[in-house]
């Protein structure tokens, strides 16, 4: 493993992805079951509509920002699989960013390599880009935002953050931890923040301002909420978001607002999916749910997000990870592509976990996949055999939530809480450059 150079890893990953894209084209032509995701056809159609000067929302089920259609305009005149190459390239960028982040925190080479391999050779991740799903772009942007933040580039991070929230709504959940993270003790003007390095002393406590516990930090944070970097981040990201949204609203009107934004906020899909709420939504679809009922179903999500943020904000990457897992698990609709949102963050937290791969790690993986497979079996019976197994399918989704919760708790328990930054000491010469 130590002999695997990053360059070769990237080369092999790139070849694998190119090969899969070409195979996908072949399969689409010659077999009934397409390799390409249905969503990719939607993006391509919307892009060709945009290329001919029309609104991409004329394509039904196109529910993304016009930016995505814009990125895929070359589908019409370069190659139909341009988009897939773009997404797979983003996929490779995610691998690169994982390496950059871990190297900046002085993680040893072999752990860096493992982390990269976990992303680049995860069957789920390389199929998602090559099938034409746009999630790798979102992952790459999130990781780039993390890189900007740990390097102290607040403005750049804010610009990308505003853009990515416009592109895909879910990163809004990261707003609060980022604000808390921009602690004035670490973010001083003109001075790059100091990173806490990974150490091999797993289980020992990190050096942190020993007079405060994390909850106390949060209390101070509340009192000092209006600091320069926080206001800057909020203003810049908010402006970028409003600019993008306003610009496209100007171009495409209410249709853009409904399809790209409001749909995601109010989406309740009664069709079966991994979420525990699907059967409840289906059984109550004929009557509209009351405001109280809607609020109650939102409450678990809200509470969990708040608590996770306040407990883990300083360890930003871990906070993002646990938030994303919880967000996906408690969401009203869960589709398989959402899992990529936390898969890209998993390699970043693994160097700080006490969990041994054998056998705790293996058990967690088997438990998660087992719960998923169990659900898929009932889903197959319902959809492809026409049996009424709604109740069993719903129970399988309860089990899936239980598995997600259990694994999340295990990861929290075995995580070495590692705040990203440490405070500058009085002597300026101790400042290190992290390249």
């Amino acid at each position: 493993m130590n002999s695997l150079k990053p360059g070769s890893i990237f080369l092999i990953s790139a070849i694998l992805r190119v090969g899969l894209i070409l195979y996908g084209e072949w399969q689409d032509e010659h077999m009934e079951v397409r390799y390409t995701d249905v969503d990719y056809l939607v993006f391509s159609d919307a892009a060709s509509l945009m290329a001919s000067g029309q609104s991409p929302y004329k394509r039904t089920t196109y529910r993304y920002s016009p930016l995505l259609a814009f990125l895929l305009i070359p589908n019409s005149f370069i190659a139909a699989s341009w988009g897939k190459f773009l997404f797979s390239a983003s996929d490779l960028f995610v691998g690169l960013f994982i390496r950059i982040i871990l190297k900046q925190r002085k993680v040893p080479d072999h752990l860096c390599t493992y982390s990269m391999l976990i992303w680049l050779f995860n069957p789920f991740t390389f199929t998602i880009g090559t099938r034409g799903n746009c999630e790798p772009i979102v992952c790459a942007t999130i990781l780039w935002i993390i890189i900007c933040l740990i390097n102290g580039n607040v403005v750049q991070a804010a610009c990308w953050y505003g853009l990515i929230v416009h592109f895909r709504i879910y990163p809004i959940i990261y707003a609060l931890p980022i604000i808390l993270f921009l602690d004035p003790r670490f973010f001083q003007s003109g001075v790059k923040p100091l990173l806490c390095d990974w150490t091999s002393d797993q289980g020992k406590i990190r050096q942190i301002n020993s007079q405060v516990t994390d909850q106390f930090d949060v209390w101070i944070a509340f009192k000092n909420i209006f600091t320069r970097s926080r206001i800057l981040f909020g203003l810049v990201s908010g402006s970028v978001f409003l600019l993008c949204t306003g610009f496209f609203f100007r171009l495409y009107g209410w249709e853009f607002l409904h399809e790209a934004l409001l749909y995601h906020l109010t989406r309740t899909d009664p069709r079966h999916n991994f979420s525990i709420y699907f059967y409840h939504i289906y059984l109550n679809y004929e009557r509209d749910l009351s405001v109280l009922e809607k609020l109650i179903s939102f409450l678990p999500q809200f509470i969990v997000q708040l608590v996770l943020v306040f407990c883990f904000a300083k360890d930003l990457v871990f906070c993002f990870f646990v938030q994303t897992v919880a967000f996906v698990a408690f969401n009203k609709v869960i589709t398989a592509q959402y899992f990529v949102w936390f898969f890209c963050l998993l390699p970043l937290i693994l160097p700080w976990t006490n969990m041994k791969f054998k056998w705790q790690g293996v058990c967690c993986i088997l438990l998660w996949m087992g719960a998923q497979t169990h659900w898929l079996l009932w889903g197959y019976l319902l959809e492809f055999k026409g049996k009424n197994v709604f109740l069993q399918l719903w129970m399988a989704s309860l089990l899936f939530l239980a598995a997600n919760t259990f694994i999340l708790i295990l990861l929290i328990r075995h995580h070495n809480y590692a705040p990203v930054f440490r405070q500058h000491t009085g002597v300026k010469t101790t400042q290190k450059k992290h390249e």
């Binding site: 009934e32 079951v33 249905v38 056809l41 039904t60 089920t61 406590i205 990190r206 050096q207 942190i208 020993s210 516990t213 994390d214 909850q215 009664p270 069709r271 525990i276 709420y277 059967y279 409840h280 289906y282 059984l283 679809y285 004929e286 109650i296 179903s297 678990p300 509470i303 969990v304 608590v307 996770l308 407990c311 883990f312 360890d315 646990v322 919880a326 698990a329 408690f330 319902l382 959809e383 492809f384 026409g386 049996k387 009424n388 197994v389 709604f390 109740l391 719903w394 309860l398 939530l401 239980a402 919760t405 999340l408 708790i409 929290i412 328990r413 995580h415 809480y417 590692a418 705040p419």
Partner: protein
């Protein structure tokens, strides 16, 4: 699924002419505009009998007379009408699709208004079949109707027989005929227009479109009906031959919507026979004219043959229990995560 797609269109023919698979034609280019034909001018030419076989100076006029006799009327190209229904976005198929004319007049698909439309509003476009030439033309019938497959995604298999008349009409100019199959779908199922377009490119038949409510995501109690129209090439010059037949087997992929709740746990929907017509068109001097053959027993008569599809539906009895257990589970998960986070977050005081 594999075999069903290969035999999606299976055209077998008897008689002198062979069936031909249409070349791939994407319905993107507008069809040529078609003029209204005035038959009165040529009524006088009815005296020319069809037995005249010598091709002389009058031959052309004879052909035209017979042409007007049989192909009176023509489909007028319809103007572009903005519609708000979520059907396919191609508006350039003027006059090609019968269903478009229907949906231009009516908002939603309804059996009685559709049968009314077929019986009355299509009559100007019908090929005139007088008592003398009753044995000419084309007859269509549905031989078999069945549902293939299991689960929420199945194919509707229909077997259609096309039979030309007892006497041939050799004096007609060259013409091309196509079979138009209109499958009205009940509320509980839909056809995916994008899937059909994809199949169209792969398998090859003339045209296909879906009209009505093609929203793929809504459950049936929040959606409206839809209908699919498929055009299949029936060959050239078929009216020249007599007593020839052709069989078309079509498999139309359908998907079930989520059904309204039912105590039994299943919802049974019925799909009826398709409406079938033949459209023959010929190149005139300046314009292309066409007319429709509709079998006499098609217009107005209710469908007798149906297929049943049993689709799983949620059970109302589950509603209370499911909601309560869902929220209890969500709450338990929440509490465990909150507890774990607070207990195991980085609140340890260092021992330095």
């Amino acid at each position: 699924m594999a075999s069903s797609l290969r035999s999606w269109i299976d055209i077998r023919s008897e008689g002198k002419w062979k069936s031909s698979r249409a070349a791939l034609v994407l319905p993107l280019a507008p069809p040529p505009t078609i003029a209204v034909v005035d038959i009165d001018e040529f009524a006088g030419k009815l005296s020319y009998s069809m037995s005249t076989r010598h091709c002389n100076r009058l031959c052309l006029n004879q052909k035209l007379a017979i042409l007007w006799m049989f192909l009176s009327g023509a489909i007028v190209s319809s103007s572009e009408v903005e519609t708000s229904r979520p059907s396919d976005s191609r508006n350039s198929d003027d006059g090609k699709y019968i269903l478009r004319s229907y949906f231009d007049r009516y908002e939603n698909l309804d059996d009685s208004s559709f049968e009314n439309f077929m019986a009355h509003e299509l009559s100007p476009s019908l090929c005139q079949v007088t008592p003398e030439n009753r044995d000419h033309g084309v007859r269509l019938s549905v031989r078999e109707l069945s549902l293939v497959g299991e689960g929420s995604h199945r194919q509707l298999s229909s077997s259609i027989r096309l039979q030309t008349g007892a006497e041939s009409i050799p004096e007609l100019p060259p013409h091309k005929c196509e079979v138009i199959i209109i499958q009205r779908l009940p509320l509980g199922v839909f056809a995916d227009p994008f899937e059909l377009q994809n199949l169209h490119k792969r398998i090859g038949f003339r045209d296909v479109a879906v009209f009505g409510d093609t929203n793929l995501e809504l459950p049936s109690f929040r959606s409206n009906r839809s209908a699919a129209e498929v055009h299949i090439d029936a060959g050239s010059d078929i009216l020249f031959t007599q007593n020839s037949g052709m069989e078309i087997n079509m498999l139309l992929p359908l998907h079930a919507r989520y059904q309204p709740l039912d105590e039994s746990g299943y919802s049974i929907i019925e799909i009826g026979e398709p409406d079938i017509l033949t459209r023959c068109s010929m190149e005139g001097k300046q314009h292309k004219q066409s007319c429709l053959f509709m079998s006499p027993n098609d217009s107005g008569k209710s469908r007798t043959r149906t297929v049943e599809w049993k689709i799983p539906a949620g059970m109302k009895a589950h509603a209370g229990f499911v909601s309560v257990v869902t929220f209890i589970t969500a709450s338990l998960s929440t509490i465990s995560i909150v507890y774990a986070s607070m207990f195991w977050s980085g609140t340890k005081v260092p021992s330095t």
